[in-house]
C-alpha cells in the first residue's frame, strides 16, 4: 500500500469525490489561488477549474449560507474554514440552517454538505486560535461530527462525509497534516460511526479520537513496557457514536479512560464516559477516567500551553489510576480520588 500524508489523503478524497460527482465543489478562503491555508486543496483549482474550487472573501457566515443554499439546491458543497475558530461567525448558519433545514422542511431539503476545518491546538497560537470545538457540534442535533486520526481515515471518512446526505462537520487536526501512513490504492470508504480498534489490550480501554488517538497509541506503547496492556479505540466520529464498539471493548477490559484534547466541561468525553456507565456498568472494575483539556482559554506561553493539553504522561497516569492496586506506586492524583 502506498504511504502518503494525511494532507495528501484529504486532497485525494476531494479529487476522487469531485470526479465521482459533478455536484461536489469546494468553497472557502484561499482554497483556490493560494491552494489552501494548509495546502490541502493544492492543484485542485487547476484540475477542476474556478467553477468548482471557489475563493471567497473573508465572510464565513456568507459562504456558509451559500453552501447551505447550494446543498438545498442539490449540490454537494465542501466548505473549508481556515481554522475551526473562524467558523464561529457562521454558527447561526451551521446550527440553525445546515443542521435543521432537513427536519424543518419535513424532509424536503436534505443538506448534503461538508464543513471542513483544522481543529485543535497549534503551537503557541493562543486562546482564539487553538480551540477544539468538536463539543459544540456534537451537541447540536442534525450535524454529524467526524475526526480522522490517520491518513487512511482522512481519505475514507472524507469521501463518506461528502457522499452523506447530512451536514457533516469534518474536523482535521493541524498537527496531523504531515502524518504519514498506508492508504489503500483502491477506492476506500470508511462508514461514518464506526470506531477503529487501534490496539488490542486486556487491562484498560483508551477511548479517543483525532490527534489524541495517536497520543493514546504512544501511551499504550509506553505502558506495555510496564506490563500494562491497554486497548486503544479510535472513535473516528462523535456523531454517530459507535456505542457498540465502546461496549464490546469495555466488556473485555473492564476499565475505560476517555481522552480528548477539548476542554472537559460539557464535553463529548463526558458524554462518552456516561455511555460507558450505561452500557457497561456491571463490567466496570474502576471508575471511568476522563483525560481532557484544562477548562481554560489556551495559554500562549509554551510551558503553560503544554499543561493545558493532555499528553502521554497524563494518559498513562490515568490508566495507572484505573488499574491501580495496593502495593503499586501511587500515580499522580490518585490520592485526590481517595478523598
Amino acid at each position: 500500500m502506498p504511504v502518503i500524508t494525511y494532507r495528501e489523503a484529504l486532497r485525494r478524497a476531494l479529487a476522487e469525490e469531485m470526479e465521482h460527482d459533478p455536484g461536489v465543489f469546494i468553497i472557502g478562503e484561499e482554497v483556490a489561488e493560494y491552494q489552501g491555508t494548509f495546502r490541502v486543496t493544492e492543484g485542485l483549482l487547476k484540475r477542476f477549474g474556478p467553477q468548482r474550487v471557489v475563493d471567497t472573501p473573508i465572510s464565513e457566515e456568507g459562504f456558509t449560507a451559500l453552501g447551505v443554499g447550494a446543498a438545498m439546491a442539490g449540490l454537494r458543497p465542501v466548505v473549508e474554514y481556515m481554522t475551526i475558530n473562524f467558523c464561529l461567525r457562521a454558527l447561526d448558519m451551521i446550527f440553525n440552517h445546515a443542521a435543521k433545514t432537513y427536519y424543518m422542511s419535513n424532509g424536503q431539503f436534505p443538506i448534503p454538505m461538508v464543513l471542513r476545518a483544522p481543529n485543535g491546538k497549534g503551537e503557541r497560537l493562543s486562546a482564539q486560535h487553538s480551540q477544539s470545538l468538536e463539543n459544540l457540534f456534537a451537541h447540536m442535533p442534525g450535524l454529524k461530527v467526524v475526526l480522522p486520526s490517520t491518513p487512511a481515515d482522512a481519505l475514507g471518512l472524507l469521501k463518506s462525509a461528502i457522499r452523506d446526505d447530512n451536514p457533516v462537520v469534518f474536523l482535521e487536526h493541524a498537527a496531523l497534516y504531515n502524518l504519514k501512513g498506508e492508504v489503500p490504492e483502491e477506492e476506500h470508504l470508511v462508514p461514518l460511526g464506526s470506531a477503529a480498534l487501534r490496539r488490542r489490550g486486556k487491562d484498560c480501554t483508551l477511548i479517543s479520537y483525532s490527534r489524541m488517538a495517536q497520543v493514546c497509541e504512544h501511551a499504550a506503547g509506553a505502558l506495555a513496557a510496564e506490563g500494562v496492556d491497554a486497548e486503544v479505540l479510535d472513535l473516528r466520529s462523535l456523531v454517530p457514536l459507535d456505542v457498540e464498539a465502546i461496549r464490546d471493548s469495555v466488556h473485555r477490559t473492564h476499565r475505560a479512560v476517555v481522552v480528548s484534547e477539548a476542554t472537559r466541561t460539557g464535553s463529548a468525553a463526558a458524554e462518552i464516559a456516561t455511555r460507558v456507565y450505561e452500557v457497561a456498568f456491571d463490567e466496570l472494575d474502576a471508575p471511568v477516567e476522563i483525560v481532557a483539556g484544562a477548562d481554560v482559554p489556551m495559554p500562549y506561553a509554551r510551558n503553560v500551553e503544554r499543561l493545558a493539553v493532555p499528553d502521554e504522561a497524563a494518559i498513562e497516569d490515568a490508566v495507572r489510576r484505573a488499574i491501580w492496586r495496593e502495593g503499586a506506586p501511587l500515580p499522580r492524583w490518585l490520592k485526590e480520588q481517595h478523598a
Binding site: H254, D285, H338
Partner: protein
C-alpha cells in the same frame, strides 16, 4: 507539594485508620503540630506536620483505612504556595465544621467525658453525619457481579484497589484459593507482609471465606484493626508455638497481710495491687532464668538484656499489653505507678507503639473476675506468659490440721522450643518462694 503519609508506627503495622482530623483544609499548621489522629492496630496516635505551612488538602477522610505510606494530606510550606487550594474562608462554606469548633455538647454520647478530653478520646467510628462512606463495602460493579455469581460475601474480601476498593482480581483471587492477588506485571507484589524477623512465616492474611450463616444473623460488622491483629497474632501463636502449661498453687496469706499494711499507709493513688506484686516477683525471678527472657530468631536463641514485662489490659473492644521496661531495675512502687499510668492511657487508646511492643514476658490477671485458674496464649515473640487467678479463701492443711488459708493459682504457658519443663518449673518455684516471702517484693 510535601505530602504527609500514613506513618509506619511499628513493625507489624500495615495500615492505619484516620480517626479524626485535628486540622482542616486551609488551616495553618506549625512544625510538629498534630494534624490528625490515627488508629493503628493497637492505639490512637497523633500525626504531626513535618513542617510549618498550610494544610492544603486532606486526602483521606475520617474513618477510612489506608496502607502505610499512602499519602493522607498535603502541607504546603509558607504563604501563597499557589497549589490551587481555595482560601480557607471559601472552603469553610462547603466543608463540615472543624472538630475544634464543635461545641462539646454536640456529641451527646460522650457526655460522660469531660469536654477537654472529648477531642482526644478514641473514636473508632466517625461521629454521626460526618462520613457516610465508612460502613459500605467499596467494590467495583464488576467485583460485585462476580461475587454475586459465585456466592462470595464481599465483606470477606480485602480490597486492593484505590481506597481499598474491591476489584475483580480480588474476587477472582479469593475464588481460586484465597491467594493474595497480584497487580499487573511490572508492579511490585500487592501487600508485602513484613513478618517480624523473629517469628515463623505468618499465616495468609486473607481471611477464609465466611461460611453462609446457618441461622438468623443479628448484626454483622467488619473486624476492627485491633481485632484483626489479635486474631492474626494469636492464631500464629497457637499454630506455631508448642505451648506447655505448669500451674502452681501459692500461699498468699502473708502477701495479703503485708499488702494491707502497706496500702493502709499510702494515699489512694500510691496503693499497690496484687498484680503489681506478681509483676515485681516476676521481675525478681526472671534474671536467673535466661531461657525465659529469650526469643527464637530463626536458628538463633536471643537472650534479651532487660526484663520488659507486659501487662494485659482489657479494653471495651479487644485488649492491649503495655510494657513496663527494665522491671529488674525498678522498685515495686515505680512498677505500680507505671502500670497504673499506662493502663489508664491504654484504655483511652493513647499508648504509643513503643509502649506496647518489645516485651519479653507477659502477666495476664483475671483474678478480679474470680477466675480460679486459666491458661493464656503466648504473645510472640515472647517465650512465656503467666496467667494469674483469683485469691481464694480455702482450707489448707498446716501442721496436720485443717485451717483457713488464702491461695492463688498461677499458670505459666511456655514455648517449648526455647524453654524446657524443668527450667519453667524451677522458675515457678522461685516465683512461689518470692510471693510466699513477700517482704523481698517491697524493695
Amino acid at each position: 507539594m510535601p505530602e504527609i503519609s500514613m506513618p509506619k508506627m511499628g513493625d507489624a503495622m500495615e495500615e492505619g485508620t484516620i480517626v479524626r482530623w485535628l486540622k482542616r483544609e486551609g488551616d495553618p499548621v506549625a512544625e510538629e503540630e498534630p494534624i490528625a489522629e490515627i488508629q493503628t492496630e493497637k492505639a490512637n496516635i497523633e500525626i504531626n506536620a513535618y513542617q510549618a505551612g498550610t494544610l492544603t488538602k486532606i486526602l483521606v477522610p475520617e474513618g477510612q483505612t489506608v496502607p502505610v505510606g499512602a499519602p493522607i494530606a498535603i502541607v504546603n510550606g509558607g504563604a501563597g504556595d499557589g497549589s490551587g487550594a481555595a482560601p480557607a474562608a471559601e472552603k469553610s462554606l462547603a466543608g463540615p465544621p472543624p472538630v475544634e469548633q464543635q461545641p462539646p455538647a454536640r456529641t451527646p454520647q460522650q457526655e460522660s467525658v469531660p469536654p477537654a478530653r472529648a477531642e482526644r478520646a478514641p473514636a473508632p467510628q466517625p461521629p454521626p453525619g460526618r462520613g457516610p462512606q465508612s460502613e459500605r463495602v467499596k467494590a467495583s460493579p464488576m467485583a460485585r457481579k462476580m461475587a454475586a455469581q459465585h456466592g462470595i460475601d464481599l465483606a470477606q474480601i480485602h480490597g486492593t484497589g484505590p481506597g481499598g476498593r474491591i476489584v475483580e482480581a480480588d474476587v477472582e483471587a479469593l475464588r481460586t484459593r484465597g491467594a493474595p492477588t497480584q497487580p499487573p506485571a511490572g508492579y511490585p507484589p500487592a501487600r508485602v507482609v513484613s513478618p517480624a524477623p523473629t517469628s515463623a512465616p505468618r499465616p495468609a492474611q486473607a481471611p477464609a471465606p465466611a461460611a453462609p450463616p446457618t441461622g438468623a444473623v443479628a448484626s454483622e460488622r467488619p473486624l476492627s484493626p485491633m481485632r484483626k491483629t489479635i486474631a492474626s497474632r494469636l492464631t500464629e501463636s497457637k499454630q506455631t508455638i508448642p505451648h506447655f502449661y505448669l500451674t502452681s498453687d501459692i500461699d498468699v496469706e502473708p502477701l495479703v497481710t503485708l499488702r494491707a499494711q502497706f496500702n493502709a499507709l499510702q494515699p489512694e493513688e500510691r496503693r499497690i495491687s496484687f498484680n503489681d506484686l506478681v509483676v515485681k516477683a516476676c521481675a525478681l525471678a526472671l534474671p536467673a532464668f535466661p531461657p525465659l527472657n529469650s526469643q527464637l530468631a530463626g536458628a538463633t536463641i536471643r537472650t534479651m538484656a532487660g526484663v520488659h514485662i507486659g501487662v494485659a489490659v482489657a479494653l471495651n473492644e479487644g485488649l492491649i499489653v503495655p510494657v513496663i521496661r527494665d522491671c529488674q531495675t525498678k522498685s515495686l512502687t515505680r512498677i505500680a505507678a507505671e502500670i497504673r499510668e499506662k493502663a489508664g492511657r491504654a484504655r483511652q487508646g493513647r499508648l504509643t507503639p513503643d509502649e506496647y511492643s518489645g516485651g519479653t514476658f507477659t502477666v495476664s490477671n483475671l483474678g478480679m473476675y474470680d477466675v480460679e485458674q486459666f491458661a493464656a496464649v503466648i504473645n510472640p515473640p515472647e517465650p512465656a506468659i503467666l496467667a494469674v487467678g483469683a485469691i481464694r479463701d480455702e482450707p489448707v492443711i498446716r501442721d496436720g490440721k485443717v485451717v483457713p488459708g488464702q491461695r492463688m493459682r498461677v499458670t505459666i504457658a511456655v514455648d517449648h522450643r526455647i524453654v524446657d519443663g524443668a527450667v519453667a518449673a524451677r522458675f515457678l518455684q522461685e516465683l512461689k518462694r518470692l510471693i510466699q516471702a513477700p517482704l523481698s517484693l517491697f524493695e
